[in-house]
Symmetry: C3
Subunit: 642 residues, 3 copies
């Protein structure tokens, strides 16, 4: 199987005089773009008063774009309900953890649990799907825009409270029963602990503003519920669109958002996509030393985009795009520098190297008004080219030489579980301990060793073809996952905190990890000061977190005071702490070599990625890097045939 | 007089299958424990719906424990009202300073001023006292649990507002009058200042959310009122229990809580107790350099526990326990490491050295559910021994060799006043200036000089037997205290800020300290940058705070620009600033030697403490410490007979 | 023209026993004071219950002061409405950005938009103006006190919401029309962006608590509205006073308050005044390195007071006072040290050197109660002299030798625009980028080069007499200003961000700065890490912010990677970034020398300022400074005749 590679752009016809549409469309096509995404914030133009629908302008816009040879990705506008919607549904707003309504005046001003608003969304999506479901130019759909952006997954509204109670009631209704069993909830949550028992589901509040921390079971249930509300909201739109259209459906996910289960949303999509802003992410989200941020301030972190490319490839079941690609300085990070020359091209090719089918730049023309005026586009506000335009043209040109990709399965897999992130964030046990960071540091270590990596959901049952599976930090593991990993013919590295909790966040007895084939038991857990790492005998250290483990498995790593740090039974190992960079590199290099994989020692700014037919090298530094007798030029993409 | 030393444990029978109770009890007794505290969070099991009382399980539990030879400390469960209580008293919740209700879902979800809830507490305590007042196994009572934990003393609810108005009205009702005199309040508070006069007590709001800082008199009144509400709440329970039981009553206080007057609560108890978590406190509460925290991360601060031991010995009028002793990693501090081997034993003996009658470990078995799953116990969740078990056994064994203590009065006293802490926190005058820190640094300096210290309340009138009394930072001093100190045959060191305010937080004229025998006047006060200490001529410096003083007293210390830094008249001195470590050590060494006390120069990790018959040495470092030709082993307790 | 120099003091007769008034007045006069400000917080004494007026005490006080030879500045008491006012107008309180009412209990507890309260202010001002309008001792009036202190300009109350809607409706009512045009607002704000269009002005909420940032146009409108509310509030009082009195009217402004347009308030006053607290400002407001703050902790920043002197000279159209001069330690800064000996005198003379007519010390006697007890006065609370008294006496004595000033126009002007500050704060584009700092750093650079500086409002149209005009950061420039500057016979330096937005915060096309005579275009803008400055070829660097510029103008500065950094067409230049200290000094020195102005290289602690007839030198360091063969003593004022 091969897939076509193409480029696109995000466009807002409603922002510009209709007189310019034709030229814009022609210019996009001339640039070599295939796709144009429109519509996702335009509810106010589609329906300027309740029931007063106007799609004529959108008809014209789609026609002009289509006639220029462009394919349209049509967005549903549900992230920006117009002001009149508030009059119809005054209680539709989300409420923040402090109990404050999150008001109209920007975007994403809705609570996922509000049924009245959800029905309005059904209605507008139905209108659009009916009208454009068979439009020859509408070649794909996007639902809503960036779920969870601006922390909008968790809402503490009364709509959310009612929905949460119903969700709990349903969760605790035994098979065949008519109603929920509150005593089962009390038992599962351990509510006896501080006399927190409930007599009825309707007594359960949302877990905010409690005197001290709420029951972690309560918090975890709320996190799972909130994720389900996003899944459900998205699925309603997908179902309506599919009833009228065969065009594929996507959603544009974001970077380092762990508030809902992206795999589950992905299950309702035809392909995944995400919005990639490497410079904004570096300053705003990547947890790295200031020195690292300074070194990559105009290139972005060398692994952060790649991680999400690999993640969303899985979320999209192999099919994915970059729906928004940063084209220059953005407006929202602590610092918003211009990328170095060549980075727009590099980011584009990096996405293709990880299997992207399309890369769409955000946005065609920089907006001259409202919130994102400082966000660059391919054009400046005066419709002249911005610096990114030339690089986009170069990529378009280069695609003619490499128009398709043969996907490849990696030899190394890394399991990433959204629920594990909920659980670590609910009880991190020590300052700064974050599941996403643990997984990302594992990923970075593998990438520095030259590996291509597949990211897998915790629902994976078939690990065939992988020679090493990394499973760090999975605080809860189902028996099915344990069994699948136990039976897999691959090396597996668990820990820390693997299986530390049951599905309700309680501690299982016998003690974790309770994997029968791996005779290891966690005796106790400790967090410690970041300035006091615990050295490993063979080099490197645990930082911030470790577990005291025991058992009959072989001890293959020890701490300097002789506690086991890693134990192994056959092809399964348990790593009982959070390794620093040196320990990660050393341990993973040994494991990779044991399973027969070639490793490289890549400097921070050089990365390699293989597809089925090509090997790409990316140098994101401003220096030439030499590796094994070969020179990689500064800010460069190198493509080898395999 | 001598007092017996014993060990105990905290236990939650309601958390475990009744089948295991018998074995638990037997194991406790076999370990050498005497005491077992139960019941303090079990209201939900005693009364699962309003009025539906069930004490049968508690009867059985007490019987099993008692039959195993254990003595029960029975806690009233008023820190955890069940969910149904909220239906009966929807306005019983506390409100935080920002005006948000502090919701159900954890513990301590009540406002001390809510009379309806207080009556529910009366009822459940009465039920328990009637039922267990003469139970032969119930050998002590604990009221509620950790007053003020999670910042629960101050509440801004409407119940608190009404109660505050009534409290003020009563405070300003002249003897013999029927109603309060609002003009007296206006005058005492200086409300003329910004036209803040009130026409009636019912016009007075709680002092939160004012445009800028509220009148300090207003804030201080609210702090005193809030303290009184805790005292009153506790006294109601004590009075009810005493009507039915002769067993002694205690409450388990906490570390570095200054929100209410512990001496006054102590007046209604038979003995004091406190919950000692050395590692959690070090990271979460002790104000010390990071280097100090790193050095003692697994031992705890060398003075923090001792300070509270000495404080609660006074609060309990000589009788006190450690009710909860940290047994391993806890769950609530920024970092939660395991203690070094030997520390559980060391902490236990340190408590006994300071006069504790009992040390109870928290808790028997680590909970496998709810908020405190990461909190170690003597047993792991699977009922196997945790590391602390062996050390507890060792202490139990060693107690047979030192089963009792002869209390001793120290030669040095340090006055600690909760109201002074209110006043410093209301007007610190400079960033980071905190009364508790001033007192604690005074204590640490004395301890480093080898002194045993008695901590005294500001109501002390008899200072007989003390050779030096430290009275730092007493922003308000009653005339009775000034007289008592003036007439005492002991050296007294006042300052800084001694007597700076009257009882309503106003500045007295003539200017402070206004102690007739000590001819010193504070001309003005200044705070300054922490990076700009003011050097003292004889060594060391003032840090952050000093006063310009004048008068006829002798100048015995000067700053480098020749201002008086310490002045003396006879046996009374005034220290006009906040000394750094070097100045504290130098000045106090001279003072101690002047009154004929032997001083030592102890390194940070070595401390000495005398009882009536023994001298204990504690080395909390991992190195051997040599002192005066003698070696103290790492992490060790050394007991000399006197 | 020459103006008299005099001294004064702030006094609160209502705080003291009437028996002491006569002696206080005599002592003030004996000290050499001319002015005494009273009354501004005394509403509660003028009207202790609604309608129960009592001015007798104030009559007596004014008479006593006047008979002693003092001139009274009478303050309106509207900053401190009494408690009974809340009963009449329960909704008069301001509401903070988080939606919380800002309660009674301190001062400034009112919303500028509340008409009911405004009418109460009309009433009390009318009463005072009628009674004292012709009083021979009342020689000036002060309106209210420190507008915006404690962040009180912005209010999110329902009164503010209604007023904002009306303000917008009026703003968007075309000439001759009867009602506002909401479509014009939607277009001007670019509300199409995220479907934020409104159908009616009454749909527009205040721009707080939005899900993410509100539309910058929305925020800017709210800032302009809020400023207008202050202007309107002040003007009502001025109009009432003027109907009854010919005495001049002032208001006491503050340091670094940019929440409202001080020029516009100034237009309704007869002279400006401000409250100068050099030590408090240094710690609390000046953005400078810690080392700088340590060096000037007891002297204050060497430029901060001067900047405000020059600013308020313009606000007062040439006439201005220091209404409150710090006399010793204050109570409100993070650290509150005593000034070095001589600083009270130095600050007084510095004000006179910048053209002040009067300097009034705050306050006569330190308050022994309420919020400001830790704030020094000329007297201590016991009525004995505080350290400042002697310095005030010295200044009074010295004034006899220099009793008047001949104002002088500077050769260098610096435009300061409050609306530019709103705009930078709404979209700074990078962390820490603050318009006030940019202007202040420009001012400091000019002052270090020995210049006297005039600060001008953006409404200036006549630049005659200036040889250099600095116009940094004016994000919006009217066409009238552009024209005036283009036609002026002076060198002008624009940038960065000059004209970057239109009056509604939208980006203009053609792109900025769009000054026809200056052929420069901003291609794009970037912010960057503070640890990664962009070096300039000729020395120094841009820090944090720069613009990529192009055009036909001459390139006179370049960055190290060859981008233009400064361009010039004739006498107009554009500086395309934020210079660091070295770049500022180098560039401005060259510009000053080009226009023929002599420059000095002053160290941080030495400043020079010229009036029409004198040159003053101020050394604020503790060392002797030598400059061009002349020695300036530590903490000294040197006055040369010109």
């Amino acid at each position: 199987m091969t897939m076509q590679r193409s480029l696109g752009v995000c466009y807002y016809p409603e922002h510009w005089d209709e007189a310019i549409w034709m030229k814009d469309a022609a210019d996009m096509a001339a640039l070599g773009l295939t796709w144009v995404r429109i519509g996702e914030f335009a509810w106010g133009r589609m329906e300027d008063a309740a029931g007063n629908l106007d799609f004529d302008w959108l008809d014209r816009s789609i026609k002009i774009l289509g006639n220029a040879g462009l394919k349209v990705v049509l967005g549903t506008p549900t992230a920006t309900p117009p002001r009149w919607m508030l009059d119809r549904h005054p209680d539709m707003l989300a409420v923040d953890e402090q109990g404050r309504e999150r008001k109209f005046g920007s975007r994403r001003h809705y609570c996922f649990s509000h049924e009245g608003y959800a029905q309005e969304c059904d209605r507008i999506v139905e209108e659009m799907a009916r009208r454009y479901g068979n439009n020859p130019h509408v070649a794909a759909w996007q639902t809503d825009n960036e779920y969870s952006c601006h922390d909008t997954t968790l809402s503490y509204s009364s709509a959310a409270q009612s929905a949460f109670r119903n969700w709990l009631r349903a969760s605790f209704t035994p098979k065949g029963a008519n109603d929920g069993d509150i005593s089962a909830l009390n038992a599962a949550w351990g509510n006896v602990f501080w006399s927190m028992d409930y007599a009825d589901f309707d007594e359960i509040d949302l877990p905010n503003l409690t005197v001290t921390e709420a029951n972690p079971a309560h918090l975890l249930a709320f996190r799972r519920f909130s994720s389900d509300q996003v899944v459900r909201f998205n699925k309603r739109q997908c179902d309506i669109i599919r009833a009228h259209s065969v065009a594929p459906i996507t959603h544009n996910f974001m970077g380092q958002i762990t508030d809902f289960d992206h795999y589950e949303v992905g299950d309702d999509l035809d392909f995944a996509s995400w919005d990639s802003y490497p410079l904004g992410f570096l300053e705003d989200r990547v947890n790295a030393p200031e020195e690292h941020k300074r070194a990559f301030a105009r290139q972005g972190d060398p692994d952060f985009q790649a991680f999400h490319h690999d993640l969303y490839r899985t979320v999209g079941k192999g099919r994915w795009w970059v729906m928004e690609q940063q084209p220059g300085p953005v407006n929202w990070a602590p610092y918003n520098p211009a990328p170095l020359d060549g980075m727009i091209r590099l980011w584009s090719w990096e996405a293709f190297a990880h299997g992207a089918e399309a890369v769409c730049y955000f946005r065609w023309r920089q907006a001259p008004f409202a919130q994102e005026q400082m966000h660059a586009g391919l054009q400046k506000p005066d419709a002249t080219p911005a610096p990114a335009m030339a690089e986009a043209a170069q990529v378009a040109h280069e695609l003619s030489d490499a128009p398709s990709v043969t996907p490849a399965k990696a030899k190394v897999a890394l399991i990433f579980d959204y629920a594990a992130d909920y659980m670590w964030s609910i009880q991190p046990h020590g300052r700064g301990l974050c599941y996403f960071d643990l997984v990302f540091q594992t990923y970075r270590a593998l990438r520095r060793l030259g590996q291509s990596v597949d990211i897998l959901p915790p629902t994976t049952r078939n690990f065939e073809g992988y020679q090493l599976v990394m499973a760090p930090g999975l605080m809860h593991m189902t028996e099915e996952l344990k069994t699948a990993l136990t039976q897999a013919k691959t090396n597996v590295i668990f820990g820390p905190r693997s299986g530390a909790r049951d599905v309700h966040m309680a501690t299982p007895v016998p003690l974790p990890p309770a994997i029968s084939k791996l005779d290891v038991t966690v005796e106790y857990t400790e967090s410690f000061r970041s300035d006091s790492p615990i050295e490993l005998t063979q080099g490197g250290a645990f930082q911030g977190f470790r577990e005291e483990i025991s058992g009959a498995a072989d001890v293959i790593e020890t701490t300097q005071n002789a506690s086991p740090a890693m134990m192994r039974s056959g092809n399964m190992s348990y790593l009982a702490g959070w390794p620093d960079t040196a320990a990660f590199q050393r341990i993973l290099k040994r494991e990779l070599q044991e399973v027969g994989l070639k490793t490289l020692d890549l400097p921070m700014g050089l990365r390699v990625r293989e597809t089925g037919a090509e090997r790409f090298w990316f140098n994101t530094t401003q220096e030439t890097i030499s590796l094994e007798g070969r020179d990689f030029a500064p800010i460069s993409v190198t493509r080898d045939a395999l």
